[in-house]
Subunit: 498 residues, 2 copies
């Protein structure tokens, strides 16, 4: 049954695994998602049969959503489920992009499959969720004869080649309905939301791996001299970390990674409150905040991951482009995180349409209040940064109001603003974490009673906080300009003019 440890501990392990090998980490990651869906929606018998094998890692799981002709728009799914006399269903259809789809690491693979029942309504309200094991389960609960499930091919991908991403064909495979008929998409979202935080963590983790590689290289590689005079005159050249532009790259990587990591842990704690707290108000508030922060984490961390892994290659120069150094793989591995579990464009729509506008800004205002509260605790010496962020918070709320107003006459205003609004939100939430980090670091340095003071741990945090506010947070200006520019500059272009 597992140790019952909190999600906020698990996420730290997920990060370490994803830094080591994000492709490999997906076998466990997908299994976790499937476990959660069965836990939330399965019958007692289904839980007994499947979770007893999946939680200890004896069997793995998958999520079978995408088909060749539909990904973001799951309403078009064609895979069919026909009821049979045994009370189960015969599943037929072809799914693509199935992570951890086939392998021989474990005795069985438990597919969670979206399919349509006969006569189901069209679109997303006619989709049901089924458990389809690769091997049928015998009376002792063990994997037995093959089910009608086969791997059609292994996809040839840009990266995460450690993960067997498969075309999976279901040919009259035996499956078991999980959750109510035609409510499959809702059940799948139980997996998706947490999977989105998992994907966010991958973006973070791959960025961390890139930072470690780039930092080690920048300290080791000697090339050229500091413009302000040789720093290691006894060597033929100085280490490249003396160059301001190399530092700009490293600090960008560090500031985004550490700020986003803090936000990851914070968000994971919200998951624990939602799942475990006995205080209903606390649960409801955490749920609001969690559903608001989830698309931000997913999209912002993975966009940041792309920037970070690209900077990591740049620090190594030509060597970064050579496979043996391992840095270019991180760009390739990270690139999928902007796409899967809902593209970042979909996350942006989710944030702005559902999590901001549809709930009248309740979640947004809740988060703005929290940030404002934390800003109050920031020591006086950082007054100018406090003013900067306060003003950005005001703009954040004003932008949401303005988009909401414009969208009353033109719904395309939402899609036109969504991505830049999400990126703006990401930079704000990362700044929020830096405010909290700086507050603690400042207190620790003043108290001077921590062993970490001597190795510069807290000093480093304050300097990175400063870097973030001076060099990264200003990017919100251009995102705001883009949001403010409205839908016309996108929608007035006739399709043939592109």
């Amino acid at each position: 049954g597992g140790q019952g440890l909190p999600y906020s501990l698990g996420i730290a392990i997920t990060e370490a695994i994803s830094s080591a090998n994000s492709g490999w980490g997906m076998y466990a990651g997908l299994t976790l998602g499937a476990i959660e869906a069965i836990e939330a929606h399965g019958t007692e018998q289904q839980k007994k049969t499947f979770l007893s094998k999946m939680i200890p890692g004896l069997w793995t799981g998958t999520m079978c959503l995408t088909e060749a002709h539909c990904g973001s728009d799951l309403g078009m799914i064609r895979t069919k489920a026909e009821p049979n006399d045994a009370g189960s269903y015969q599943i037929s259809g072809s799914k693509i992009f199935i992570s951890a789809g086939d392998h021989d690491l474990t005795d069985n693979i438990i597919h969670l499959v979206l399919a349509r029942l006969p006569g189901a309504p069209e679109g997303t309200r006619g989709i049901s969720l089924f458990i389809v094991p690769k091997f049928k389960i015998d009376e002792n609960g063990e994997a037995a004869e093959a089910n009608g499930v086969s791997c059609g091919s292994i996809e040839h991908k840009m990266g995460i080649n450690g993960s067997s991403t498969c075309v999976i064909n279901f040919d009259n495979a035996e499956g078991f309905l999980i959750g109510p008929e035609n409510r499959g998409l809702n059940c799948m979202f139980t997996m998706m939301n947490q999977a989105r935080l998992g994907t966010a963590t991958q973006g973070l983790a791959i960025g961390e791996a890139s930072y470690q590689g780039a930092l080690a290289y920048a300290k080791d590689r000697i090339q050229g001299r500091s413009l302000t005079g040789a720093k290691t005159p006894e060597k033929a050249a100085d280490a490249i970390i003396v160059h301001p532009d190399v530092r700009r790259m490293l600090l960008s990587m560090k500031a985004l990674t550490e700020g986003n990591r803090a936000l990851t842990y914070y968000t994971a704690t919200l998951v624990d409150i939602v799942h475990r707290s006995k205080d209903e108000t606390a649960r409801q508030q955490a749920e609001l905040e969690l559903s608001f922060l989830t698309p931000i984490c997913k999209a912002f961390f993975t966009e940041a991951g792309s920037e970070i892994t690209n900077l990591g290659v740049q620090v190594l120069g030509g060597h970064g482009y050579i496979k043996e150094w391992g840095m270019e793989q991180l760009i390739r591995d990270c690139r999928i995180t902007q796409i899967y579990e809902g593209t970042n464009g979909i996350q942006a729509l989710d944030l702005l349409a559902r999590k901001v506008l549809a709930n009248q800004g309740i979640s947004l205002n809740l988060v703005i209040d929290k940030i404002s509260g934390d800003l109050e605790k920031l020591p006086e010496e950082f007054e100018s940064k406090k003013i900067l962020l306060q003003s950005a918070l005001k703009d954040w709320g004003d932008m949401a109001l303005s988009i909401g107003k414009k969208s009353q006459t033109n719904l395309d205003e939402i899609g036109a603003a969504s991505f830049d609004f999400l990126m703006y939100s990401g930079y704000i939430c990362c700044a929020w974490q830096w405010v909290k980090i700086a507050t603690v670091a400042s207190e620790k340095l003043k108290a001077n009673d921590d062993a970490k003071n001597s190795d510069g741990f807290y000093q480093s945090k304050l300097q990175t906080f400063n870097f973030y506010f001076e060099r990264l947070l200003p990017r919100i200006q251009s995102h705001k300009s883009s949001v403010d520019s409205g839908a016309e500059n996108l929608m007035n272009m006739d399709e043939v003019f592109f």
Copy 2:
């Protein structure tokens, strides 16, 4: 001897070849660089021997600069050249990352190799340039016995796998001095400057290929419905080009590509003026402008190429990540352009330190005057854009002055500002081209005497111009903030704090 066609025509061919296959295009591209170095610095005999084979494409050429321990800092080169009794030299050493380094497409490969003569001064002033053919040349001028040149390995790269990038070992290979002793780096820069424009063109071309792929997919792929109501109710879903966020991605790709293409042609024309004009003042002015614009084109187009190819994958979603679609290859092929021919960090230093500060802003002011002149011609209806760009031009000059002032007490201020200053410059120069495009398009539409009016060609240009000014140009704000923030937030970090 070739047709003597202008460079500005050649660059259009280079773009088409690079869009088709940038890796393959390098065999011709490197040959061109080698031809130019031999033309500029070779003896009559050398020209006769080598150019007669290279210009018609019978032999290809390479540039052998980088060694395992040095790339950006060529002063540390170790490859040796020993004079022999025959008046030639014996070259020994190992070079890495040699594009088009070995192949059997042609009968001979002409390497241009940087090496040190015995007793040469240390650093960059002790490097000479040598012609080292793969096969020695017989008395009839044909390739004969093997020279001491061998391919040590083919590099395993992230992309441009159509180019055989090699480790090339020289083992007592016969070589011929080209240009004066110890002035090899200057001779090599004859190749490098033009090669930088070639690299800029690759960034542009790969972006164009990505745009074509993404646009075709966005028109073809049906998924979801427009938020403002079904656009093709007869189909199961609308084409994704109806979604504002897909349009944001496509228009970003289009606006950067078309603006940068205009700048490419403009810059190529400057090359022709420098090489061919009989008017010395025109030549000198073109030379100033060209040397200023070259690092901007190289770095800005390749940074844009990275953004564009990543957007191209994003438009395709999961399919973009699959190799068969050809979109992810464009990210990988483009990624090297930010690195080779001098990393973009080096370009940024070249721009700010050499092309702006070292010449007291003469080139910068020349370009500002040109842009201001072109802005005067922009029709009245675009007054607000004129004011925006005028203000940005003023900031551009002010930033340069301010950095120059700060650098008098701290040279690290140059490196700290360089990359963001370059990106700022890139967005301005791209905006400049859009001003010129919009001026012509506006005239054409008013005159209404062009067949292209009917297919929306000019209307499309005006709308893309508008998009660029409203959604991309505002990025200069954050680059300016970063420049203004100065060197302290980079340099005050102790190395152990990273």
